[in-house]
Symmetry: C2
Subunit: 323 residues, 2 copies
Amino acid sequence: MEKSLVVGVDIGAQSSKLGIVDARGNILCQSVITSLQNELSEYVDDLVKAIEALIDQVGGKHLIKGVGIGAPNANYYKGTIECAANLTWGRDANGQGIYIDFAKIVSSRLGIPVAMTNDANAAAIGEMTYGAAKGMKNFIMITLGTGVGSGIVVDGKVVYGHDGFAGELGHTISIRDGRQCSCGLKGCLEAYTSAIGVARTAQERIKNSGTPSLLREIPVDKITSKDVYDAAKKGDKMALEIFDFTANLLGEAFANFIAFSAPEAIILFGGLTKSREFIEKPIIESMNKNVVSIWKNKVKILFSQLKDSDAAILGASALGWDL
Amino acid sequence: MEKSLVVGVDIGAQSSKLGIVDARGNILCQSVITSLQNELSEYVDDLVKAIEALIDQVGGKHLIKGVGIGAPNANYYKGTIECAANLTWGRDANGQGIYIDFAKIVSSRLGIPVAMTNDANAAAIGEMTYGAAKGMKNFIMITLGTGVGSGIVVDGKVVYGHDGFAGELGHTISIRDGRQCSCGLKGCLEAYTSAIGVARTAQERIKNSGTPSLLREIPVDKITSKDVYDAAKKGDKMALEIFDFTANLLGEAFANFIAFSAPEAIILFGGLTKSREFIEKPIIESMNKNVVSIWKNKVKILFSQLKDSDAAILGASALGWDL
């Protein structure tokens, strides 16, 4: 019987989404598991069980061509997850990211071939095949979630680089010697413009200023980016300034990215894009202010047209066809 | 008769180098003209004359397959030079870069097809074909000359981007709201790490500090990067600090570039690489300090193995074969 289906898995720091996809890009069924297990073996057990449950739903393993997985710090060439310190089971007792032969482990458990890439690369492939980047040959996907990821497409292909890790734009420096980032560096784009970064900005401003704000009604260490969004919706000045600050840094960073690969568009994806009404305009202004004149007002800022979970599953699943 | 030769032209802000190249990459003859003409028509006259003189030397136009030109802000797709404010004949009376249909102009004068690319892309192609990047599929060429240019190679191909202008890494921001750059932005890498940038650093330090230095023997506005090099050779503390400062900014920038395309190596080329003994070690230290942990001590810093003029001519000429 023809192997006419693939499995797509999107591993995030908090949760993992998985689904079975057919050749036309329909997600036949899907599920979610937590990613917060303490041990790798627990996580793999849970993931394999969840994949097998979906495979049973669609009619059995003989129909599955391959499994494509998008994960933080995943290596396309080697099928590994390396130094992913933001995964609870991806670090050692000292909090250092470890080297995991992930594709091999999952493949041997399932008896199905497995390919991996960076979660943001997977989202870029999904967007190129089904979303806002349809027909584009040069674009940059920026995922604004718990972290900040990126998938760079040049001439119709994802850039993997010499070692398979290309596209870590969340760890380019936004503010020299700035805020500590989870990656060990200081002042990374991710430390400011991820969901966690936005919450940290709010916490800092509450602690370091006397400005009145609705955010003061929340215990300071509990403030989330969602709280900032809710306050901004009510017109809270501090919340609006936090989004301006965040968007300004994104625009500055995008100006640098454009000088690299001259994309047709930068496509934004992930939780923070729910705040589009507060960040879109200042991102565009900041980008055009900071970019070389040949690109002023030329590069589109687009927001993903796919649901968060769909884009990641579809993108990851696309890797499965080549197995 | 078989068209067995190509012409390579490297247009720099100060001078243009040109040569005739055979299929094995031998430069059969070459010459240099100034690039400092005030008018485009004067420059084109001088260039066409110089090309025709070389063509006569090798036996005539019927032997020439095409002309490849590397130039600042050249567009590979359109054969244009756009907004090249650092070319005397590339800007209008207000100093704004203009749009020049350069390949078409030169082609119609010579009666030979002409292709163009960014001068740094041309150098990258030369380095990939004959130099330090031989056999590499992923590297970044950085040209440290009057300006700072870049040619990015991903998966064996130069990155041109959506509009043909990709790879303007000299205009990524090094110091936010820093020194005015010729491109109109502030704080660009080029404003600090080009030959002119190094001279400006020296001039600023002479004016703003009382530190003793051999450089004080030179009229401050006449100081060049060569003077800084000569002083450093004599152990002058200020000159050595200037190279440290410059190398540190380069290393920081390279750390960001690595996060983009994960190159096997960054290859340095151009006048400032003559100061290798003063910049190599601090560049490597700064890069490894600022880069994401997965790339620490992994990306090679190489210096071009080709003579400045050869690499640019060979690289540009390679474009001529596809015409």
